[in-house]
Amino acid sequence: MDIAEKRKLFEQIVPLYSEKLYWAIRRIVLCHDDANDVLQNVFIKVWKGIDDFQNRSKLSTWLYRIAVNEALDFLRRQRNVASLDTVDNMSVADQLESDQYFDGDRAQALLQEAIASLPDVQRVVFNLRYYDELKYTEISQMLDTSEGALKASYHIAVKKITAYMKEHQ
């Protein structure tokens, strides 16, 4: 693929998927600025990897996989920094309520806190299934995990979230 073809394809992909990927990332990292940074990195990776994409999976699956991995990497780095920072110990719900780009009430903030408290895979599966309504088949290809394991993860995630919300409301 020459540079002109690559650029043309890239310019078709960006408007089609940028907003969907932004929301997928935002639901994982929660903060707009962080989501934007991660999204920009995702598209830099897409640009670099577009030559190697070989249609083995759907384009959308490949893009979501990059986005989810980047978002989770960001969270891991953030956790490492946060573990060194003892001053900033606000709860997720409190942070969201003070965020100008949060558009919900206390209950919504607590729901996001409950989702954020889940292990990475459960968190991603819940977001992709509940908010994006993706099929297990697609999530399975994206995360390279069996559908059975994903169903179990989703089931556990829903149980935990419900228990958390009932306890905190």
């Binding site: 932004y22 999204l39 598209f43 640009w47 780009y101 949060f102 829903v158 149980k159």
Partner: protein
Amino acid sequence: METDERYIELHFGKKAPFKVPDGYLDNLTQSIISNVEAAGKEAVPAAPTSLKSAAPAVGWWQRYRRYVAAAACVAFVVGGVSVWQAQSSTEADKAHVATATHNSSYDASAYGSVSDEEINYSMLDNEDMYSLMASN
């Protein structure tokens, strides 16, 4: 599970409670393309204007120093082995000469006695041999 999922859906809906700055999504495509172009310019160095400038500025010594070092090592090893062999053969020669000298003096005396007998026997003819046998 369905009851729990239904509980979440009924109480919180399916819309994530987030918003974005005004105009963010409208300009998102352009912002991403500009960012990728900027990242590409940083990553890719400017194309060289000529073949000469494309070649790295590496001197003769830097280019061949590995080969020179390897050749020096080989020469050292070969030289060392040669010197060692030369010293070993000199000592062996000295030992051999000493032994040979000793052996030759011994052999000379041995040969001397044998030669006398042989000479004596060789000087006997048939007549002498018959008379010698008859006398014994």
